[in-house]
């Protein structure tokens, strides 16, 4: 008998330094759990997230990618997240157009005070991606171990 290993999705979360990263901090200090499979990458602003980052995350083995930033209107740099929103809207729509599961990508606005929202979002997203299974459509076989 072989052990059936439970599938644990790898998730990359791009978090803006001023809101969402602080939100993750708050989740931690409030002892609110979120899956250990969520790997956070801190970015100065959600606007720093280049579409290439999202694709690169999938290439290196992510099963889901989420971008989190300040709420619209609350950007530390006034308007960065507005631009990021347009970019991600178009990019995710394109991924969908190519037949790549829409649920593998997500954008959420999480403030520094929303530790609970951070934890809830990550739990939800991890569950969604786990249900989808491994990322096959945007994988790079060379990067598989």
């Amino acid at each position: 008998m072989q052990d059936v290993k439970e599938f644990r999705p790898k998730i990359v979360a791009f978090c803006c330094n001023w809101c969402s990263y602080a939100g993750a901090d708050l989740a931690g200090s409030s002892r609110l759990a979120y899956p250990a499979d969520v790997k956070i990458i801190r970015v100065p602003c959600s606007c720093r997230v280049n579409p290439l980052f999202i694709l690169r995350a999938f290439q290196r083995g992510a099963d889901g990618v989420i971008m989190a930033g300040c709420h619209p209107g609350d950007c530390h740099y006034t308007s960065g997240n507005y631009f990021a929103r347009r970019r991600m809207t178009l990019l995710f729509s394109m991924l969908d157009y190519l037949g790549i599961e829409r649920e593998r990508t997500r954008v959420e606005w999480i403030s520094a005070a929303e530790g609970a929202k951070f934890s809830k979002t990550m739990n939800e997203f991890a569950a969604t991606v786990a249900a989808l299974g491994e990322n096959k459509r945007l994988e790079d076989l060379r990067c598989k171990k």
Binding site: R60, G61, R142, C143
Partner: protein, 340 residues
């Protein structure tokens, strides 16, 4: 000479495919021919030639060379090669068959490229004489006979079926293995097919293209000609001509960081690209004029210089039909060679 009746064509393919991989031109979703692995139900394309050349079989666009695994300060080098597959390519045209000799002269002379050599040894080439060459064809200019291609086995389409002639030991073995499906063929049918093709070849618009003024020893004469500038003026610097070319043989070796090791691979490179000759000191060819000149000088002068006069072009015409701006080797030959 053997004959295979049309009715038995699929049986013939099945017989070959039973023991090894069989590749042949198949129409893709856009109606263009590309080499595909044969399996029951796959129909051979009627197109004159494939978009990509047959060089892919021996010199694939991308190929892993080796891997490095690192643990602490220890580096392990892994040869990732697996057992090479035996394969047959069916339906190669005379131009592509001739291109193999050019690739051989590069890859099988010292230092021998073992990756290429293995594939060559495992592959059997069945060529198919052209019945209806196109206006972009000019293989005859380089002494290639579209009606009598080389290869391990040569095939001709005649009424009622294919005529097959083995040219090498490998070819004879292939025909022997399928002998149950073959009958004795008639030389006259082949000659009739050849005569028909040669009649068309004579009428093709590029049949009178000349290599005069090109070839061995012309470097000094041609290198500084002012026409290179005008010819290359519109060149986009893309790699289409080099990637569809059956004789272009340049590659780049690169390392890919997988996140858990390094894969060293090689991939086709193009002298038309801006980073082609990029070295530590910089780049020795900084303008498209120089890159453009390199490509055509290589095919028409440098290669002949090194190969005893054989040109580095086989006249397949792919660059003529594929170049985005329709600048091609024929236009270069007309401008640089001949009576100009």
């Amino acid at each position: 000479m053997k004959k295979l009746s049309s009715a038995k064509l699929n049986e013939f393919f099945a017989a070959i495919a039973a023991s090894r991989a069989l590749y042949l031109p198949v129409d893709n979703s856009r109606g263009k021919a590309e080499y595909k692995k044969w399996e029951a139900g796959v129909e051979m394309s009627r197109a004159l030639n494939t978009v990509r050349s047959a060089k892919d079989f021996f010199f694939p666009q991308t190929e892993n060379l080796m891997e490095f695994k690192m643990e602490g300060k220890k580096v392990e080098v892994v040869d990732t090669r697996s057992e090479a597959e035996d394969f047959v390519i069916f339906g190669v045209r005379a131009c592509d068959a001739a291109s193999f000799k050019i690739l051989d002269s590069v890859y099988l002379t010292d230092p021998v490229d073992s990756y290429y050599k293995t594939r060559r040894e495992h592959g059997v080439v069945v060529t198919l004489a052209c019945g209806k060459p196109a206006e972009t064809c000019f293989c005859g200019v380089f002494g290639i006979d579209a009606a009598n291609p080389e290869g391990d086995v040569t095939a001709w389409e005649t009424e009622g079926g294919l005529m097959l002639r083995a040219n090498t030991e490998k070819g004879e073995a292939l025909l022997e293995a399928t002998a149950a499906l073959l009958e004795e063929g008639d030389e006259a049918a082949v000659q009739a097919a050849q005569a028909k093709t040669r009649e068309i070849l004579k009428k093709l618009p590029l049949s009178d293209l000349s290599t005069e003024g090109l070839g061995v020893g012309k470097t000094a004469e041609l290198f500084d000609r002012p026409e290179w500038k005008t010819l290359s003026e519109a060149c986009l610097g893309c790699g289409t001509c080099t990637f569809v070319c059956p004789t272009c043989q340049c590659y780049d070796v690169r390392d890919f960081d997988t996140g858990n090791g390094i894969k060293r691979f090689r991939c086709w490179d193009s002298c038309m690209y801006s980073d082609f000759t990029l070295m530590a000191h910089g780049n020795s060819r900084n303008s498209q004029v120089e890159r453009f000149r390199q490509r055509f000088m290589h095919k028409l002068v440098y290669y002949p210089d090194r190969s005893g006069g054989t040109f580095g072009c086989v006249g397949c015409g792919r660059c003529l039909s594929r170049c985005p701006i329709s600048m091609n080797i024929v236009k270069v030959m007309k401008t640089m060679g001949g009576k100009n």
